[in-house]
């Protein structure tokens, strides 16, 4: 089947979506995707960032489609013609969606661990406005503790449903989901249960924003101060292929390897992600490359790797804890009583 996107044509298999076809072509025409995730069945269609204009339905039915279509869930037809960045309507719609996603977003990038690898940041950079027209109070949620490994920041969530699908498709017992509805819909376990499953950590990787972050990496570093390396180890649960985020000789974070669309190449298990922070556990393959405009590249790998010891780390974290209280973010440590209950498992 032949499909033309912004004037560039490509032959694709039947069943390919417009977004997939665009990714095959590559470049600026690829629509942004906040909720679609090729590795998760049933994802997509929700964020409306990837809307495109179909100017010709197909060779058989040449009529244009009246509405903008979500490219991630619209299959291509033979002879279809699509406008992505060449359509004013599309750019306007992307701007609109970006504005909608941001009106209730806390914009706390300076203290967010996702900053630097955040899809919403990238989207805002491209399609957002420097001003806001929203003068009302932003929506907030009560913090919820979902265990020792994953930090949930509901205020930042854009409800892409990716983490719910991850739990559904990768683990055998989903304990979190989307509760409530409308603009009060939230990711939650309802009963403040710990999400504890061999593959639950993948929720962190699929989250497009800073709603789910790695608790073991929390406030440790900005991602662009880390040096990412491809590494692997023998693992009987997963592929064992990861990216290590190093600071000197210290492994500060382990993630799956992500491609240029920030999708993981292969999911990894929690043991690899959380329990192997010793470089001796890993075979390091070499630096991980990122797309050329990524902020992560501001590191350069030509410098010598020298161990850096931060004496002040403890004090930095303490200061951040205090700041956080002032700006009403959630508590990291559980309160005394909660901690006890949590440990005993009767939450």
């Amino acid at each position: 089947m032949k499909v033309t996107i912004d004037g560039q044509s490509i032959e694709v298999e039947p069943g390919t979506t417009i977004l997939q076809a665009a990714r095959m072509i590559g470049g600026e025409s690829v629509p942004p995707a906040m909720c679609y995730y090729s590795k998760l069945k049933g994802s997509g269609g929700k964020c409306r960032c990837c809307l495109v204009e179909v100017t010709k339905g197909s060779d058989a039915d040449t009529r244009p489609m009246p509405k903008l279509m979500a490219s991630c869930v619209t299959g291509v037809m033979d002879g279809m013609e699509v406008k992505s960045i060449t359509s004013e309507r599309v750019l306007d719609a992307r701007k609109s969606v970006t504005e909608f996603l941001l009106i209730n977003h806390p914009l706390d990038c300076p203290v967010c661990d996702q900053a630097g690898e955040c899809d919403l940041q990238n989207l805002s950079f491209k399609h957002g406005s420097a001003n806001t027209r929203y003068i009302e109070d932003r929506r907030t949620f009560e913090p919820e503790n979902i265990g020792d490994n994953i930090q949930l920041h509901m205020n930042r969530c854009i409800l892409c449903y990716r983490c719910v699908m991850t739990a559904d498709q990768l683990t055998d017992n989903r304990v979190h989901g989307v509760l409530n509805r409308g603009d009060h819909a939230q990711i939650s376990t309802y009963i403040s249960k710990a999400i504890d499953n061999e593959f639950s950590g993948n929720m962190i990787d699929v989250c497009p924003v800073g709603a789910l972050t790695d608790k073991t990496f929390r406030f440790k570093s900005r991602v662009w101060f880390n040096k990412p390396y491809n590494a692997h180890r023998d693992c009987d649960k997963c592929c064992g292929k990861t990216t290590l985020w190093m600071f000197g000789d210290e492994i500060q974070r382990v993630t799956a390897r992500k491609d240029e669309y920030h999708e993981v190449e292969e999911f990894i298990c929690n043991e690899c992600r959380f329990e192997h922070k010793d470089p001796a556990d890993w075979v390091i393959e070499g630096p991980r490359k990122f797309e050329k405009n990524s902020v992560i590249n501001q590191n350069n790998y030509t410098r010598d790797m020298k161990p850096v010891k931060i004496e002040t780390e403890k004090n930095i974290l303490l200061g951040r804890d205090e700041d956080r209280k002032k700006i009403s973010m959630s508590e990291v440590p559980l309160k005394g009583q909660e901690k006890k209950e949590f440990k005993e498992g009767n939450v």
Partner: protein, 174 residues
């Protein structure tokens, strides 16, 4: 999210179990989850009109689904109560068509009479007043729902009378 810790005695009586079995028979044997909404209604009606977490877990067990699947549904639909409510819940329709006919005044009147604000329950646990969205009785406005029934063409006098009847235990809920 606020979850009520109030204690609730779970009692799946034989009659309730029979009703659940009947509802389950309406769906293919491998599609038990489909019965979730009607089953929740029945279980809630039999348990003082609210659903505690253990009760929701019980429903999950009956339908052989994950507890989170029940929580997701309970929090989505407005008719499932997640905390104890008064014996008589006055649900006033406050969407435009009813407002044109004085629903707001009437709700305020009721709240004042019962000495509570919208969304609250009287201290004796008898009455709750809430405003809800369109109940599909626009031509018979103003109106309210109490239990399974609608009270329509309301006036202040009818509200007075209704409250008296509730106090005397003469109002059927189901």
């Amino acid at each position: 999210m606020e979850i009520s810790n109030a204690k609730q005695e779970i009692n799946i009586t034989p009659e309730l179990q029979a009703r659940i079995d009947e509802l389950l028979s309406h769906y293919p044997a491998d599609k038990k989850k489909s019965a979730l909404l009607p089953v929740l209604h029945e279980v809630q009606d039999a348990h003082d009109n609210w659903l505690s977490v253990p009760l929701q877990d019980k429903v999950a067990e009956i339908l052989e689904i994950k507890p989170i699947e029940v929580y997701e549904v309970v929090t989505f639909y407005t008719m499932y109560n997640q905390r104890p409510i008064g014996n008589y819940m006055f649900e006033f329709c406050r969407t435009s068509c009813c407002c044109l006919r004085g629903a707001e005044d009437l709700m305020e009147y009721t709240c004042e009479k019962l000495g509570i604000k919208e969304g609250e329950t009287t201290p004796d646990g008898k009455f709750t007043v809430v405003g809800v969205e369109c109940l599909g009785a626009c031509g018979y406005a103003p109106m309210l729902q109490i239990g399974d029934y609608y009270k329509e063409h309301l006036t202040k006098e009818k509200i007075d009378q209704l409250i008296e009847e509730c106090k005397a235990g003469q109002v059927n809920l189901h």
